[in-house]
Subunit: 111 residues, 2 copies
DNA sequence: TCCATATTTCAATTACTCATGAAGTGTTGA
DNA sequence: TCAACACTTCATGAGTAATTGAAATATGGA
């Protein structure tokens, strides 16, 4: 994970709709969710969804698999972890208090 | 750290110049760095810098303290930690593999 | 007081992001 | 074969972000 990759991941996540998509996909694991179902969950148009999905996929945060008519999207967990790792590394390497705080804050899942 | 705050932090960090500013300030701790010095380090104009600093300050990621003619900026470590905590929480709460990966990736400081 | 320094603000310009709806592609089943 | 479905692409336009240089503010020292 270099800075360029981290930046594109951050840009991808810096949007309410896309952050919601990630939150929706993460707990579904490898199975993922069909685009149409994501659109239904979020209440947005297919075209708007497609725009955001391709942004996330471009950033490497999600992956897609075509399955007959549907396209299933799943979160790329290792990549998400790598982004967090980059931030941790970059921001907290020399400063453990950032690190410590991020652990104590991560108390409960809310997805 | 609610989603709105996380989003504004992510937007603030989703920019090369601003990510560099954060990386520059984090290891300086509470002492921080004067705006002019940051501009020199990054090789950008005072006006461009001021624009980015105010975006970071607005997002709560850095804080400023005026000291005679100079303005010193420092990273807000707890806030940075809270952003990472939000991502960890939000993306990995139900999925420990994201979490695990982010730990193993955080091998060495590079600031 | 006046000039130099440090920083911010402003206005103008350019570039990017996002939403929308219409058209296009590919697949399934009647 | 044809209509319906699932999704993507495209064109347009609105809104927002970023860059630039000039002007403004505020402080310190000669």
């Amino acid at each position: 994970m270099d800075q360029q990759q981290a930046l594109s991941a951050l840009s991808a996540m810096a949007n309410a709709t896309r952050l919601e998509i990630v939150r929706l996909l993460v707990p579904r694991g490898n199975e993922g969710l069909a685009a149409g179902d994501i659109a239904t969950y979020l209440g947005i148009s297919a075209s708007a969804l497609s725009f955001h999905l391709s942004a996330l996929e471009q950033a490497g945060l999600i992956a897609s698999k075509k399955c007959s008519r549907q396209v299933f999207y799943r979160a790329d967990h290792p990549r998400l972890g790598a982004v967090i790792g980059y931030l941790l590394n970059d921001c907290c390497g020399a400063h453990p208090e950032v690190c410590t705080r991020s652990q104590t804050d991560a108390k409960a899942p809310n997805v």
